[in-house]
C-alpha cells in the first residue's frame, strides 16, 4: 500500500466538481464520478456522464428527493450504460416518466458493482489499485467545514447514521502540531504528529471546502466512512479458471 494516493493527479480521471444545489442527488453524482474515474483510468478516456439520466431513470422515481448509490448503478446496468453530460445535461429537477435513456448514445458502461468490506485498510488498497470508490458518510460536520482534516469521534459524528454520498479519490498523511500553542513553552520543539486522511470529492460546487474537496481522518471510521463503500467495475469479468477435478 503506498503512503499516499491521489487520483486527481491522473489527467482525465477526475471530472470537475459538480454542484447538486437544491436537488438531493449526491448519490447519483457520486456514482457518476466513480464510473467516470474508472473509465478514465482504464481506458484513458475523459468522460463526463449524465447525472440527469440517473435521476430521471431511477427505479424509485424522483431522484432529486434522494436515493442510494446502488440504485444509480442498477440504473446504469438496466440502461446498458450512461449518456454523456453534454447530451443529457443536469437540470437540477426531475419530471415523472421523463427517462430519456434510449434517446442518447451511451458513452460509458459497467460490468457490475460491488460493496467492499468495512475495513479502511482494504478500502485503501482497493482505492490505490483500482480507482476511486463511493462512500456514504454522516455529513453533520460538513455544515461548518472550511478546510483541513476532520477528526471526528462517534460523539461529534455518529458513524451509524450516514446520509451523504461522496467520492473517495485518495489518501495521504499530514504533518500537524501535536499540541496546542499555549500548552508548550516557546523554546520547545514539539513533535509533529502525522495525521492520516482520506481525500473526498463533494458535490457542493468548487467554492465549498478545499476547492470542492474535503479531508477526513483515516483509520477511525470517521463519520461512518466504512459503512457503504461501493464501486462499479468496468473490467471484463475474470474468466473462471478451469475446475480441477479428481481423476476417477
Amino acid at each position: 500500500l503506498p503512503s499516499t494516493c491521489d487520483w486527481r493527479k491522473v489527467a482525465g480521471a477526475i471530472s470537475p466538481i459538480r454542484n447538486q444545489e437544491n436537488c438531493m442527488c449526491c448519490w447519483a453524482i457520486a456514482a457518476a464520478g466513480n464510473i467516470e474515474a474508472l473509465w478514465g483510468i482504464k481506458y484513458h478516456q475523459s468522460v463526463e456522464l449524465s447525472v440527469q439520466e440517473l435521476l430521471d431513470c431511477d427505479r424509485c422515481g424522483d431522484g432529486c428527493k434522494g436515493g442510494f448509490v446502488w440504485d444509480a448503478f442498477i440504473t446504469v446496468l438496466n440502461n446498458s450504460g450512461l449518456a454523456s453530460e453534454k447530451d443529457y445535461p443536469f437540470k437540477k429537477h426531475t419530471k415523472p416518466s421523463k427517462c430519456l435513456a434510449r434517446k442518447y448514445t451511451k458513452v460509458a458502461w459497467i460490468q457490475d458493482f460491488i460493496m467492499l468490506q468495512d475495513n479502511e485498510e482494504i478500502i485503501a488498497r482497493h482505492l490505490a489499485t483500482h480507482g476511486p470508490i463511493t462512500v456514504t458518510i454522516n455529513m453533520k460536520l460538513l455544515q461548518h467545514y472550511q478546510k483541513g482534516v476532520i477528526k471526528a469521534t462517534s460523539t461529534t459524528c455518529d458513524p451509524r447514521f450516514v446520509n451523504h454520498s461522496v467520492l473517495l479519490v485518495g489518501f495521504g498523511k499530514s504533518k500537524v502540531k501535536g499540541m496546542r500553542e499555549e500548552t508548550v513553552s516557546p523554546r520547545s520543539h514539539r513533535p509533529c504528529r502525522s495525521t492520516p486522511y482520506w481525500i473526498l470529492k463533494n458535490s457542493w460546487g468548487p467554492k465549498w471546502g478545499e476547492e470542492g474537496y474535503f479531508r477526513l481522518h483515516r483509520g477511525s471510521n470517521a463519520c461512518g466512512i466504512t459503512k457503504y463503500p461501493l464501486t462499479a467495475r468496468v473490467d471484463q469479468p475474470v474468466k473462471k479458471k478451469q475446475p480441477i477435478s479428481c481423476p476417477p
Binding site: Q20, M24, M139, K140, H144, G148, I150, T156
Partner: protein, 103 residues
C-alpha cells in the same frame, strides 16, 4: 438573540455585522423580519458550534459556510440523500449476514 450571542460567540453588534457579510457573500435575503431574526439566531448558534468544533479539533478549520443559516435538520433534509430508511436497513442486514458467512 442577544443573550444567546453573548453566551456563545461574538457580541450582538459584531454578530449582526458578520451576518450581514454572510448575506452578501451568499446572496441571502429573507421574506420578513421574523424570518430574518430566526435565521440570525440559527446563524449565531452555528457560529458557536463552529467555534466549539474549531477548539475541539485543531486539524481542521470550521466557520461560516453557505449553510450557516440552516438548522442541522434543514441541512440534512436539503443536502443529504435521505429516502425511505427501510431499504437502508435491509442493506445493513444483508451485509451483516455475509459477515457471518451466509450467502
Amino acid at each position: 438573540d442577544s443573550l444567546r450571542a453573548q453566551d456563545h460567540g461574538p457580541q450582538p453588534l459584531e454578530l449582526n455585522e458578520v451576518f450581514k457579510l454572510f448575506q452578501v457573500q451568499f446572496n441571502r435575503s429573507y421574506s420578513n423580519s421574523a424570518e430574518h431574526a430566526r435565521r440570525l439566531d440559527i446563524f449565531a448558534h452555528n457560529l458557536a458550534q463552529a467555534q466549539w468544533l474549531q477548539e475541539d479539533m485543531c486539524t481542521a478549520e470550521f466557520g461560516v459556510t453557505p449553510f450557516s443559516d440552516l438548522t442541522e435538520e434543514e441541512f440534512g433534509q436539503l443536502y443529504g440523500h435521505q429516502r425511505a430508511t427501510r431499504r437502508e436497513i435491509n442493506m445493513v442486514r444483508k451485509v451483516e449476514s455475509e459477515e457471518w458467512g451466509e450467502p
